[in-house]
């Protein structure tokens, strides 16, 4: 009796998920993601990034804190050991970027324009959550998964932008490139994976996150009290 009840309950969940998947189109999902992102005032997240560079897998973990009103984004490298302890502070208000280098016990200060120029894009460092936006992306919901945290959507991006630097730097055949994005029950895109055929070229996972926790500008700006080198 108990087993039958459990089985029926599981089937109901699967059925409900399937119905929800049918009801929720990719456009609706993208709109929900957009709405969620627009409601974010500050973001604190721990992010794992795994990319393939010259045949080597490089795994990097960041602690990211960003505030829209404060116009500040702070990144602390947690791994690998080669860069652990470094802190990057993108200050849009003062248009500058500070990098704390623990080995040198110094902070490098440079104009933000130079940093953005290096990326090759005009990045909004004070609005980091917008980089998670699905707006203007063409895709389809490939799978709806039910987890302990709720319903998760697996999205396949159907029209990859050939200009994406990740592809141009890592992919040898962009025609075979495939990208998947996972969106959680809070409509936060928290995971992505990038493939060329069956080969995974990169993964990004927001391991944990906290929204609108009231991060202050002072918290974001706090850096070790060491000499500053201006570039």
């Amino acid at each position: 009796m108990k087993k039958s009840f459990t089985l029926a309950y599981c089937m109901m969940i699967i059925l409900a998920a399937a119905v929800q998947a049918q009801e929720l189109s990719f456009q609706h999902l993208a709109a929900n993601v957009e709405q969620r992102l627009n409601s974010i005032f500050d973001l604190h997240a721990v992010i794992d990034l795994e990319i393939v560079q010259q045949g080597q897998v490089v795994i990097t973990t960041f602690d990211l804190q960003s505030g829209k009103e404060q116009k500040l984004t702070r990144l602390e490298v947690l791994a690998p050991e080669l860069a652990a302890g470094q802190i990057y502070l993108f200050d849009l208000e003062n248009n500058q970027m500070s990098i704390y280098i623990p080995m040198a016990e110094q902070i490098i200060l440079q104009p933000l324009a130079g940093a953005a120029g290096t990326f090759g894009l005009s990045l909004d460092f004070a609005n980091m959550d917008q980089f998670l936006s699905l707006e203007d992306i063409k895709g389809e919901i490939e799978e709806v998964l039910t987890t302990e945290q709720g319903v998760t959507y697996k999205v396949k991006v159907t029209d990859l932008d050939q200009q994406a630097l990740f592809l141009s730097s890592a992919s040898t055949n962009p025609d075979l490139a495939v990208q998947y994005v996972w969106v959680d029950a809070n409509f936060i895109p928290y995971r992505m994976e990038y493939y060329e055929g069956d080969v995974c070229l990169g993964k990004m996972l927001i391991r944990e996150y906290e929204l609108n926790a009231g991060i202050t500008a002072e918290q974001l700006r706090t850096l070790p009290d060491v000499p500053v080198l201006q570039f």
Binding site: E81, A83, I99, P102, M103, S133, D136, D161, A164, F231
Partner: protein, 254 residues
């Protein structure tokens, strides 16, 4: 990735080494006067520094400097020339420097002339660091010195080193700690098995200056004070070990 590949570009940019054209160049000249303990001297020093970013994870600094001074009695030249590079790349630091003359002029005016190279490699992993420093001197009797070391960081920095070279075989400990955000203190001790000499002492570092007191069982006690103004053009140093030697300099930025 998601929006025109931006998020991945952000993070990839942080883990890739991209050489930036951004560089800072500084050149300065100094007029220096002082007393060696036996003679007065006067001279000039020139220094050229070039600092450039190495992607988002470090920078390198190239320094070329030279000093020439003449003593007043039976004019004898003092000074040095040196060229070196120091690189900070993530949690790795390395440096290499070639020199001729007395590259330790500012800490010991009469340390003697040498011709050689010295370098260091250091890597930090969390609260620990390890590295090796070395020096090869080619002037007169060639000498070689290698100093592997380990560092542990907590409230202070504890450094243990082993020194193996043609002139000495020694072990030592150094502990530095912060007294305040502007002041640091340290104690050190090293024992040289080859020369059977113990060297120990303490140092105090404050805004722009370092005060060092040391005792060596072979050479006796020494006291040193070096100071360089951060905002003003003056620098000075004084060292006492049986005799008093000192210098003062004035800097012109170019």
């Amino acid at each position: 990735m998601l929006k025109n590949g931006k998020i991945l570009v952000v993070f990839i940019g942080l883990v890739c080494i991209v050489l930036l054209p951004s560089a800072v160049v500084q050149a300065e000249a100094r007029f220096i006067v002082g007393y060696t303990g036996d003679d007065w001297f006067a001279g000039i020093q020139g220094e050229h520094r070039s600092r450039s970013l190495m992607g988002f994870i470090g920078y390198q600094e190239d320094v070329v400097s030279g000093l020439v001074a003449l003593t007043n009695q039976a004019p004898k030249p003092l000074g040095y020339v040196q060229a070196g590079r120091e690189v900070f790349l993530g949690n790795i630091k390395y440096s290499v420097e070639a020199y001729g003359g007395n590259p330790d002029f500012h800490t010991d005016l009469l340390a003697g002339n040498r011709l050689g190279i010295r370098g260091e490699y250091k890597q930090q992993t969390g609260k620990q660091a390890y590295g090796i420093a070395g020096e090869l001197n080619l002037l007169g009797k060639p000498t070689l010195k290698l100093v592997p070391y380990l560092e542990w960081r907590s409230t202070g920095v504890l450094k243990a080193h082993l020194e193996a070279g043609t002139e000495s075989i020694a072990v030592g400990l150094d502990y530095g700690f912060a007294l305040s955000p502007q002041a640091q203190a340290g104690v050190f001790a090293a024992y040289d098995f080859k020369n059977k000499a113990l060297d120990y002492g303490a140092r105090l570092t404050f805004a722009g200056g370092t005060l060092t007191g040391a005792v060596n069982t072979e050479t006796g006690m020494s006291l040193g004070l070096a100071w360089k103004g951060a905002e003003c053009p003056f620098a000075a140093g004084i060292r006492w070990q049986q005799k008093v030697q000192w210098y003062a300099s004035y800097t012109w930025k170019m």
